[in-house]
Symmetry: C2
């Protein structure tokens, strides 16, 4: 049943997954044809028939956007990972993705949110461990006590956020680390986003 796919069929399957992750819904035949430069939907239809025959997708006849994903693609979605952060020794957040993470499709990301991998144990008392993926939502004003990702002098930290009268304090959960205190409106400081959740995959053993 697990017949091999041709290069084109593979590309189309990937596009379906990509479209589904980005737009939140499967593409139409016309959208697929557009993306690959086909002048005709019937061409796409043949490839979809092949994909269905080989068991990679299911189709709801007559229904708009009636493509359903089967197997792995239905379980995991690949999301870009934009960097690593630690609460003790700041690490970098990159403009481009440095890696990808397979998220179970139970996790739909809010628009504009992104992923960072935690390194180190400075947040272990907040039950966040090395290797965990944190989901960061920008465009949210942090409230006191929330865990935020902030950039300070070009390096990134994950800390608990507290706003005082004249300063902003970033606390580690781990008592080994001293709080970071920043003057308000300090130029090289910016809160990147609020950590709205963590995710940990169970696929492999943990060390």
């Amino acid at each position: 049943m697990a017949t091999e796919l041709t290069a084109i069929q593979n590309n189309i399957l990937e596009y379906i997954v990509e479209h589904w992750n980005n737009a939140g819904m499967p593409p139409t035949l016309a959208e697929i044809a557009d993306h690959f430069g086909y002048k005709n939907r019937a061409t796409v239809q043949q490839h979809l028939k092949a994909l269905e025959k080989k068991g990679y997708i299911k189709r709801n006849p007559k229904l708009a956007r009636g493509i359903e994903l089967v197997a792995e693609e239905d379980i995991m979605q690949v999301k870009p990972l934009f960097g690593e952060v630690a609460a003790g020794n700041p690490l970098a957040i990159y403009q481009d993705a440095i890696d990808t993470v397979e998220l179970p499709n139970v996790v739909k990301m809010p628009r504009n949110s992104f992923l960072l991998r935690v390194k180190g144990d400075s947040l272990k008392d907040a039950y966040i461990f090395s290797g965990d993926i944190v989901i960061v939502h920008p465009d949210i004003l942090p409230k006191d006590g929330q865990i935020v990702v902030a950039v300070l002098d070009d390096s990134a930290v994950v800390k608990r956020f507290f706003k005082k009268e004249d300063v902003i304090e970033l606390h580690s959960e781990n008592p080994e680390y001293e709080p970071i205190i920043v003057k308000r409106n300090y130029i090289s400081f910016k809160v990147v986003g609020v950590v709205i959740g963590i995710y940990r995959s169970m696929e492999t053993y943990r060390n």
Copy 2:
């Protein structure tokens, strides 16, 4: 901008979210009309117009299934919670949902997967804590060492799975608890599913 919704508008909005979570795509006007018994799509269209005017949805004109969710519904999805499990003292899994969980939309659930809330500290050495939500995927054959949810004599446990020659062993991570050993093909035993991930919300403080 945050105008209040009428009861009907609220129902329709809820249905859109529900359909989007279940089918992986927004509903069409016809599907909404069907669900509420409307004989006409134009009725639905008026309600959608109202929802758009009040800022709860956005619409992609002329596009099939072009409804986009805004605000909270775009960030959080409500998923049913089917019970609670502990590794030490087994708890019940119910047929019906006992509660709901707001998951960030980063988490798309695999079809058929469901959520359970962990109670107790028997998995604390696996870095799973009381209150965490585990994502359980049925229809997967568990491999040695994976964390599974199993039903034994009508009560549910979360343990590490090991298949031996004649028996199946379920280990706790916490040394305080003895492993459970079950004969193969024991009638009242069944592996419900494999834990493919955990999720923890950062919305509130943790105690």
